[in-house]
Every structure is written in structure tokens, then in C-alpha cells.
């Protein structure tokens, strides 16, 4: 499975440098994908660019990036010129801060990538950085230009490689105070706690990717298959259980007892 790397550059810790490559950790490839068609002809619809003034088609090789200087006033920048932008973070992930693994909260994590050595020459240097982070239970904080923006990134050792996360900008995460400040912070009922713990324990499972299966995807394929065969469409998926009704505060204890009892009974199916 030779996938083309999304980015190639260097990983650097102080005077230690190694060539690395990066791949997105997520992919749309396996998703049921639809194409846009022309209803009249059932041919694929493709997008292309036309000149905003003349309306004529613009070929790929004639498309060029323009930096806006004023109204209708652009400076043309070729890709090779942009390569020379004076930021080390376009080519080098220089880790200059390390932080305990738990100190960067999930809410800051934006997009994950897999980082690995790009050349056998760098394997040992890469492993040194990875293993030292793992041994100290630290993540690395650095910056990297991705899609023409400089992003804060976090590097986390994972198995034989490193997971690189882009981190959200400061103004992208909303202040939780606005949402959580009204919640009463009195300790919750200590009498009920053992029951909650019992229920949690009974329902605790190991992490497994199968827990995030997508029934809609299968249903879509069924619908497509049925339509192809021109047979009757499958009936609409029904939600299996009736809408939940909120419990009264008083009977939480009863409801929890029932829940624990229900968990004790052998499972249906």
C-alpha cells in the first residue's frame, strides 16, 4: 500500500535532525461515496475554472496564486517563490517545548497525522526522539506550516511511530465557563455513588474500533443494491427504542437499582 506522503520535511530536536514524512491518519476512501451527476444526461459533473471577466475556461497550468494588494490589484506568486517564505516551520518540525502528555486537553486536538522516518539514515535519530518522549511520558510541542497556515502541533509517540496533531488556535475553542458555570458544584449524592460505580463497572468494555461501526453505511449499500435490482426499497430504519423520558430526581436511586438488575440478567440476542 504505497500511499504518497502528505508532507515531507525534517524532525529536529536541538542538534539532532532526521528526514520525516507525514500521512493523514483519517481517510474518506472507504466511505460510500457519491458523485455529482447531471440529472438530464447522468454524466459526471466536473468543476473547472473560468476567467471571472472573460468567462473563458482557465487551464490548470494557467492557474496561479495571487496575493491581494488592493482592490483588483494582485501580486502573482509562483509556487517556487512561496517555497522561499522565511519560516523554518515550512520544512522543519523543531521541537522546542515538551509537556506532560495529559497537559494538552482533547479539546485542542484538531487533525491527526502519522509521522515516520523518510529515509533509513534517520531511523535512529527518529527513534531517539520517540523513545525519549515515551520514557518521560511527554509530548512535544512545535509549529508547522500546513495548507499555508502555521499551526501549533503536538507530537505523541505511538508504537514505532509518532502521531502528530494540529492544535486549534486559541480563539477557536469557546470558553467553557459560559456553558458550565451554572452547574451546581455541590458533591453528588454519596449514597447513590456506589450504585453508579456498579453500573459503570458492569457496562465497561475494552476499546475496540468495532464500537464505532456505521450502520448507515450498510443501509445505504442495501438501498443502492435494491434500486439497482429495481426491487422494492428496504423500509426506513426505525429507532429501536422509544424516546427516553427524563426521570424525576427522586427516583434516580430506583432507576439505578433497576439498571443494575437489568445488567445482571442475561443479555437478549
Amino acid at each position: 500500500m504505497a500511499l504518497r506522503p502528505y508532507w515531507k520535511g525534517y524532525l529536529k530536536l536541538s542538534l539532532v535532525t532526521c528526514p520525516v514524512q507525514m500521512m493523514p491518519a483519517t481517510s474518506e476512501n472507504e466511505k460510500v461515496r457519491f458523485h455529482t451527476l447531471n440529472r438530464a444526461t447522468h454524466n459526471r459533473v466536473v468543476s473547472h475554472y473560468v476567467d471571472a471577466v472573460t468567462g473563458k475556461e482557465v487551464k490548470d497550468e494557467d492557474e496561479v496564486k495571487g496575493y491581494q494588494r488592493g482592490e483588483d490589484d494582485y501580486i502573482i506568486l509562483e509556487d517556487e517563490e512561496l517555497e522561499n517564505v522565511a519560516l523554518d516551520s515550512t520544512k522543519t518540525i523543531d521541537i522546542d517545548v515538551f509537556s506532560p502528555r495529559d497537559s494538552v486537553e482533547w479539546i485542542w486536538l484538531d487533525t491527526p497525522y502519522y509521522l515516520s522516518p523518510d529515509d533509513p539514515v534517520g531511523q535512529e535519530a527518529f527513534s531517539v526522539i520517540r523513545d525519549a518522549m515515551a520514557a518521560e511520558d511527554m509530548v512535544g510541542i512545535s509549529s508547522l506550516v500546513i495548507s499555508r497556515r502555521e499551526r501549533a502541533v503536538m507530537l505523541e509517540p505511538r508504537g514505532k511511530g509518532i502521531v502528530l496533531w494540529t492544535l486549534r488556535y486559541g480563539d477557536e475553542v469557546r470558553d467553557e465557563e459560559a456553558y458550565f458555570s451554572g452547574i451546581d458544584d455541590a458533591p453528588s449524592d454519596s449514597q447513590v455513588m456506589p450504585l453508579i460505580q456498579q453500573l459503570i463497572k458492569k457496562q465497561t468494555r475494552h476499546w475496540d474500533p468495532k464500537l464505532v461501526a456505521d450502520p448507515v453505511q450498510d443501509k445505504l449499500l442495501e438501498i443502492i443494491e435494491a434500486k439497482r435490482k429495481k426491487t422494492k426499497r428496504p423500509t426506513k430504519a426505525k429507532s429501536s427504542e422509544p424516546k427516553a423520558t427524563p426521570n424525576n430526581v427522586i427516583n434516580i436511586m430506583d432507576a439505578l437499582r433497576k439498571s443494575v438488575e437489568a445488567e445482571d440478567r442475561p443479555r437478549k440476542r
Partner: protein, 289 residues
């Protein structure tokens, strides 16, 4: 509880206990366009048009339909109602199906975070679930229809509230094990590891999102200025990779470097001052060249 308007209102149900919650966007991605696309020949802006791939005719939005390719060039057309039929009816309930130990969760699955706050009457049950999960060090998995898509949501205590993060589906995530499968099993030990650990300790700090600046715009502005003035910026050189034979030496030198006196803040702050970005930061590569 919260004063903002909820993006979604429904219930969390665990066992036989249910309570009303509001779900609020916790993070938004800011888009930013640094450049416009121009036609090199005329210097005019370009705009996008949708055309039929065979006839070349323009296809307006209301003439576009979704199709699934069954064989080469053969499509099954699906109307929006037909696609919607695959999604179960929304019962507005995040029904907790399992609890997962926090340290087992593969965070690569995390998609978008939402704040979950109790709706007026549900506070007691909300706090019980929150404190119970915190004590047991678990997060909860629930599935529901959110914004017309069936989503799996991971619910975890956060401060006084809960955060529900949508998860990517199994087929959307590449396995890290497979991604790193080809790498050799190199375990670093002894002096090399000790030196690297020491370097890490001297660079201990914290991530401060508020202090982070995107310097790309400023750097491009400098590039443009240079171009207008007819100056050329020096070509960027890649740092020389450490040779295997020099690695220990590089580590020794790095570990011997004086650590800065003040505690380090997040990355990239060092030269984010008012001055123009330096064309080239001091680097050892000059000497090596």
C-alpha cells in the same frame, strides 16, 4: 443552565436513568484564504463552474443529482430523500451503550468536541454520571442522530460539565499499527536515551494556545515586499540530517547546551516580535555548507 442557545437538545440515558441536556459547539475551525486564484494570462480572478464531463455544458445546482458508481461509468441515482431513508429516526437520545477506560481510547478517532450541559431539571443525574465517570476513569459511548447524521459520541467529564466528542467511524481511520508496520523495531537505550531524556527535561514547558501566532501571513507579506522591490529572498536550505555515526555526538552537544533561564512557553514565540521575520535564522547549516 447555559445562556447560549443549544445546537441540539435531547437526553442522555444510562441504564434506566435519563436526563435532558443541551449540546453546544465547543470549537470552530476558522477558515482563512491567504491567496486568490488568478488566470496567469489575464491576471483576472477565476471562478468555479460546474459542467457536464461529456457535453461540456454548464450544469446548474438544481440539475445536479447524487449518483453511486456501480460499474465503470454506470451510476445508481439517489435522491436526497432516499439517502435520508438510511438514517434512523432521531429519538433525541444519547443512550450510553458502554463505558471505556480513558487510557484505552485511541484518540485518533476524535472528531469534533461539543459541550454538554444539563437542562434545568436534570442537574442531579448529570452530576452523578459526571462524578461517577470521573471516579471510575472512564468515558461513555453513545450513538444518536446529530445534525441529520448518525454519530457515535464519546462523553467525558470536563470541569463542571461534560464534553461529547463525535468519533470518526472505523473505516475512516487508518490503523496506526499498519501505518508504522514497515518501521524497524529500534529500541534506544543507554547513553543515547539518557541524553535525549535530559534534553527533553531542559525544554519542559506548556502549550499556550493564546500565545501562539500564525506567522505565515507576515512571512508572505515580506516575500511580496521583496518581490515588489526586486529583491530576492535567499533560498531556504534544509538542515543536514544527523548521520548515524554523528548521532551520539549531536546528542552530547545538545545536552551540554545551556538551558534558557526563563520557563519556555509554547513554540515559535522566540522570534514573533514586531520586526520582520528573519530571512534565515542562525543555523549550523551555514558552517556545514
Amino acid at each position: 443552565m447555559a445562556t447560549a442557545r443549544a445546537n441540539w437538545k435531547g437526553f442522555i440515558k444510562f441504564g434506566e436513568v435519563a436526563f435532558a441536556v443541551g449540546l453546544y459547539t465547543a470549537a470552530s475551525s476558522s477558515e482563512r484564504i491567504a491567496f486568490n486564484t488568478l488566470n496567469r494570462a489575464t491576471g483576472n480572478r477565476v471562478r468555479r463552474e460546474f459542467v457536464d464531463s461529456e457535453t461540456g455544458d454548464r450544469v446548474e445546482r438544481d440539475e445536479q443529482v447524487k449518483g453511486y458508481e456501480v460499474e465503470n461509468g454506470d451510476y445508481v441515482v439517489l435522491e436526497p430523500e432516499e439517502i435520508a431513508a438510511a438514517i434512523p429516526d432521531s429519538d433525541k437520545t444519547l443512550r450510553i451503550e458502554a463505558f471505556i477506560p480513558c487510557n484505552e481510547i485511541d484518540d485518533v478517532y476524535l472528531d469534533k468536541p461539543y459541550y454538554l450541559a444539563p437542562d434545568k431539571m436534570g442537574t442531579d443525574a448529570f452530576r452523578l454520571l459526571r462524578d461517577g465517570m470521573r471516579q471510575a476513569k472512564v468515558a461513555a459511548l453513545a450513538q444518536t442522530v446529530l445534525f441529520r447524521r448518525l454519530r457515535t459520541v464519546l462523553i467525558r467529564p470536563h470541569g463542571n460539565g461534560l464534553i461529547g466528542t463525535t468519533l470518526n467511524f472505523d473505516y475512516e481511520v487508518r490503523s496506526s499499527q499498519e501505518a508504522f508496520d514497515d518501521l524497524p523495531d529500534l529500541k534506544i537505550e543507554g547513553e543515547m536515551l539518557d541524553l535525549a531524556k535530559h534534553i527533553i527535561t531542559t525544554k519542559k514547558g506548556s502549550f499556550d494556545a493564546k500565545a501562539f501566532d500564525d506567522r505565515y501571513d507576515a512571512a508572505v507579506a515580506e516575500l511580496v515586499k521583496a518581490k515588489i522591490e526586486g529583491r530576492s529572498l535567499p533560498k531556504r536550505k534544509a538542515p543536514p540530517p544527523s548521520k548515524q555515526s554523528d548521532l551520539l555526538q549531536a546528542l552530547r552537544q545538545s545536552a551540554g547546551m545551556k538551558s534558557p533561564a526563563k520557563p519556555k512557553r509554547a513554540s515559535a514565540k522566540a522570534d514573533a516580535g514586531d520586526g520582520p521575520p528573519k530571512a534565515k535564522r542562525p543555523s549550523r547549516s551555514k558552517r556545514a555548507a
